[in-house]
């Protein structure tokens, strides 16, 4: 079947098998390999992207379900000139990543969460990250990154 999805602002149409998952559409059809696959049970959150602005695990959405909709992946977060998005910048400054494999999913989950809750407590950040696993950081600096991103946004606005 033919699927048309706007990925990071660019509309792309590809012919896919009906069973194709959104994550495979993004990685294989569109070549956006920044979205990682870390499990096969929707447990790890490495594949988190924004679907019409809200975070979803792209391994649990069929490409067909995203037909005609808008997807943002990690590749769509930085400015075209390479300037990191404030959430990416906060992860950099707070050492919120080590091996980087969970990082795109963490950043996308954080983007969605901070839109819902721009001024979260530490406990709220931890609760929000329940579906995103990291094996390197112990979450300490990921939580700090998201709190810092929220604070920076406050300062800007």
């Amino acid at each position: 079947m033919q699927v048309t999805i706007t990925v990071n602002g660019t509309s792309e149409t590809h012919e896919v098998e009906t069973r194709t998952l959104l994550v495979h559409y993004l990685r294989e059809a569109c070549g956006h390999t920044g979205t990682n696959v870390g499990c096969d049970t929707t447990s790890c959150g490495a594949c988190t992207v924004l679907l019409d602005g809200e975070s979803v695990k792209s391994c649990t959405v069929l490409a067909a379900q995203a037909d005609g909709r808008d997807v943002t992946t990690i590749e769509g977060m930085a400015s075209p000139d390479g300037t990191l998005h404030p959430i990416q910048q906060a992860f950099h400054e707070e050492h919120g990543l080590q091996c980087g494999y969970c990082t795109p999913g963490m950043v996308m989950a954080a983007a969605s969460f901070l839109k819902e809750n721009p001024d979260p407590t530490e406990a709220e950040v931890r609760e929000a990250l329940e579906g995103n696993l990291c094996r390197c950081t112990g979450y300490h600096n990921i939580v700090q990154s998201i709190l810092a991103a929220a604070k920076n946004r406050e300062l800007v606005s």
Partner: protein, 802 residues
């Protein structure tokens, strides 16, 4: 000897990581991200039985499926192997190993053992075809329980006379141990179980082998920690000349020891790419990885302490059964031996005895997992020392203080035969107690007990020492390890003054690029951004011993520092030639070599690099270019140490344990980048807490792994963990010129016993002093019920478990 910053002085600062932008923007490429046109996808057919004889493998149906290029059984590929799967650590002369090939030929020995492969144009096609492979098995009895396997009730392998692979002993003075126990005022005997763990790096494993055109080399892209070791082992096992193998580890998403191996899928992709003359790739699914990637831990430990009436420990005796799993992987037999010398921990103990029996079971092979042997040892001694303290009515702090190796004893020759390089154990303990607010915690604990609060507070300590910087090659020889423990590095200045560092270490999240560029920047007086770090590609760094065992900085970083020193030495000779002075009259400052006392007579390092490149006017006999290579082989291990304090709340009605506070004071010697050190500590703590409270590879009675997904195998999430308070003391290591010790494994080593000790600290007054890991609500609840029934507890109030 420690290193002082020569130039920019960036060492010791919290420089942000240079690795981050590529990882944060999605530009980094992991193996599965590599676009390789025409690559075939390999899918494994795995044994669904823990132990079975292979009666037949029917591949006909699979071969006729859409997109399928080839399908092979173990018999089909038997002629491809020049040697069995490699085990580099035969720990004893008479160690027994079963036959082990990438695909089983006659018998499968665990659920997940490979029996056939299918190669197809797409992954989905290969998966569909693998499901059509028809294998007939004759199911055999399986050896699943470690202690029963050790008793040889059921054979794990038909080909072996016993499940026992080896017995490894270390008792330097048996009579002294006997005497200590005979004369002891008090003894403690404890039995602990180290449950099997699944390493669960976030990136599953993957490999892609690309044959180069014109009959050339094979390029192996692998999610591995060990490109160099892999090259040698693939050469030996697949019969490929090592010189025609190039191994590249692209971005690697964590390892924790699980990618410190030579796996069947890597060898199969090599052999099939060679046979089919097409690129062949394989990517692990998470649930597949749960059985196909090595497990960690898996021991039953007995530890006995002899002590005098004051609680001074006089002897330690440890007896270990170590679960090898079904086969010996790369370093399986040696993992318990890495802990063999550390069962006395940070304590000054005169008499020492250790014995380990390696036992085969019909489960996934075990091998290195973060800490590898040292967490097991630390857990045993740190729980036992608490048990001794309880016996004598001494606070955990006091029993530790009475036994610490005193600072003036360093370098300390242990009764197990190691020389601990440096340490100030009481200082780290004091700092940890202060940061944790130990006195207030004890007061709060007492208050809750008095009020009969159902949520009791537990405070757990763990004082640890580990053995890092693997490893002095001569020591490895004495332990019968098949290779050395050195690390290689090259530092070169390019004509424009930019610097290239080539390292044999192979990072997978540790931030080597940042740390190595900091070391070299200070040495050469350049900015870290001017330093390019090349690694993880055997074509770029022909020699290396890779990354594991907290070795990269203390061994590999030292090699880099020494190579940089040699570059400066050569630059100094050239500068002396140009400035017409003696080399020793020159000092490096701000990137310039200047004559002492007359700083205007100077020449910049960048200029010297260019002049060495043009070679128009070099001193007689000097070779062109500023480049130096060093291979550093340490003379001793390094011994990081520290004290961690865990605070838990235990709900006495539900058995639920919450980790509410965690304080870690670690001493890893000098720090290159404290930001990175913090991150290593945080992540290590989380993994060790995972073992204490949640993680366990659970098998059913038939040998099926039940915890195959991240929904069943409980890798901690952010909600289960608190933020951590970290502190550091600095006791430089005399084992290397940087004075560094290593920090990659410390958190995992220290945190597991700290947390379990905290739970027992909460429950001991109720009669619960024995809990196995993971300390689940069910285990706690049952222990409380059992204690209440037996009346073991000291009733404190109407609350609690009564």
């Amino acid at each position: 000897m420690t290193v002082t910053a020569a130039g920019a002085g960036v060492v010791g600062t919290r420089l942000l990581r240079r690795e981050d932008p590529a990882l944060l923007s999605g530009e980094a490429r992991y193996v599965d991200d590599l676009a390789v046109p025409g690559a075939l996808h390999l899918v494994m057919v795995r044994s669904p039985h823990a132990h079975a004889r292979i009666v037949s493998v029917d591949l006909e149906a699979a071969r006729s499926m859409p997109g399928v290029v080839a399908a092979f059984s173990g018999v089909d590929l038997a002629g491809q192997w020049a040697a069995p799967m490699p085990c580099a650590w035969p720990v004893t002369e008479d160690m027994v190993s079963p036959p082990h090939y990438p695909l089983a030929v006659e018998e499968t020995a665990y659920v997940g053992d490979g029996v056939a492969v299918v190669v197809a144009a797409t992954r989905a096609q290969a998966q569909d075809a693998a499901a059509a492979v028809d294998v007939a098995y004759e199911v055999l009895p399986a050896a699943l329980d470690l202690e029963e396997a050790a008793a040889d009730r059921v054979a794990a392998h038909s080909a072996l006379a016993s499940n026992r692979s080896y017995t490894w002993e270390l008792t330097p003075d048996p009579a002294a141990v006997e005497r200590a126990f005979a004369e002891a005022a008090v003894t403690v005997s404890e039995r602990y179980v180290q449950q099997r763990l699944i390493p669960a790096a976030m990136e599953p494993r993957g490999v892609c082998v690309v044959p180069q055109p014109f009959g050339g080399e094979l390029v192996v892209y692998s999610a591995t920690q060990i490109p160099h070791i892999l090259r040698t082992m693939v050469g030996v096992t697949a019969g490929v000349p090592e010189s025609r193998l190039r191994i590249v580890a692209p971005a690697v998403g964590g390892g924790f020891g699980s990618k410190l191996n030579v796996y069947a899928e890597e060898l199969l992709c090599v052999v099939l790419a060679r046979t089919l003359r097409r690129p062949v790739r394989w990517n692990e699914e998470r649930s597949e990885g749960a059985v196909a990637t090595i497990h960690g831990r898996g021991q039953v430990q007995t530890i006995e302490l002899a002590a005098d009436a004051d609680g001074k420990v006089t002897a330690v005796r440890a007896r270990i059964l170590a679960d090898m799993g079904a086969y010996h992987q790369l370093v399986t037999p040696g993992i318990p031996i890495l802990g063999a010398f550390l069962y006395h921990g940070v304590y000054d103990v005169a008499a020492y005895s250790f014995e380990c029996i390696g036992v085969f079971t019909n489960k996934t092979p075990t091998d290195a997992y973060r800490g590898a042997g040292r967490p097991e040892a630390t857990y045993a001694i740190e729980r036992a020392i608490d048990a001794l303290g309880r016996r004598l009515g001494l606070d955990p702090v006091e029993i530790r203080r009475r036994n610490f190796i005193a600072p003036e004893r360093f370098p300390y020759t242990s009764s197990a035969g190691l020389v601990f390089d440096s340490g100030e154990y009481a200082r780290a303990l004091d700092m940890a107690l202060e940061l944790a607010g130990y006195g207030d915690l004890r007061a709060e604990q007492a208050r809750r007990r008095e009020h009969g609060d159902r949520r009791l507070l537990g405070i757990g300590l763990s004082s640890y020492v580990e053995m890092c910087g693997l490893a002095p090659s001569r020591v490895l020889a004495s332990l019968r390890y098949a290779a050395g423990g050195w690390e290689a590095a090259t530092v070169r200045m390019l004509p424009t003054g930019k610097v290239q560092v080539v390292s044999g270490a192979s990072p997978h999240g540790q931030g080597h690029v940042t740390s190595w560029s900091m070391i070299v920047a200070d040495k050469l007086g350049v900015s870290p951004e001017d330093v390019e770090v090349l690694h993880s590609d055997t074509a770029l760094s022909p020699f290396g011993m890779d990354t594991y065992g907290s070795r990269s900085l203390s061994v590999g970083g030292t090699a880099i520092a020494m190579a940089a020193d040699r570059v400066v030495d050569k630059a100094r000779l050239l500068a002396a030639h140009q400035l017409e002075c003696a080399p020793e009259d020159l000092e490096l400052h701000g990137g310039e070599l200047a004559v002492k006392g007359s700083p205007t007579r100077s020449v910049a390092m960048g200029q010297l690099a260019f002049d060495a490149f043009t070679a128009h006017d070099l001193p007689e006999g000097m070779e062109p270019n500023l480049e130096a290579s060093v291979t550093f082989d340490p003379t001793n291990f390094t011994f990081p140490f520290g004290t961690h304090v865990a605070v838990v709340e235990v709900d006495t009605e539900t058995g639920r344990v919450d980790l509410v506070r965690y304080t870690a004071v670690d001493d890893c010697g000098n720090q290159i980048n404290p930001l990175i050190v913090d991150g290593q500590v945080h992540g290590g703590i989380a993994q060790g807490v995972g073992q204490a409270l949640w993680e366990e590879a659970v098998y059913d009675a038939a040998g099926n792994l039940l915890t195959t997904g991240l929904g069943d195998y409980l890798v901690p999430s952010a909600c289960e963990l608190p933020s951590f308070t970290v502190g550091r003391t600095v006791t430089p290591s005399p084992s290397n010129p940087l004075g560094v010790k290593g920090i990659g494994e410390a958190g995992t080593i220290a945190s597991t016993p700290a947390v379990v000790n905290a739970v027992i600290d909460a429950l001991a007054p109720l009669g619960v002093t024995d809990l196995d890991m993971p300390v689940t609500p069910e285990r706690v609840w049952r222990a409380l019920e059992g204690a209440a029934r037996s009346g073991a507890g000291i009733p404190t109030s109407e609350g609690g478990a009564a």
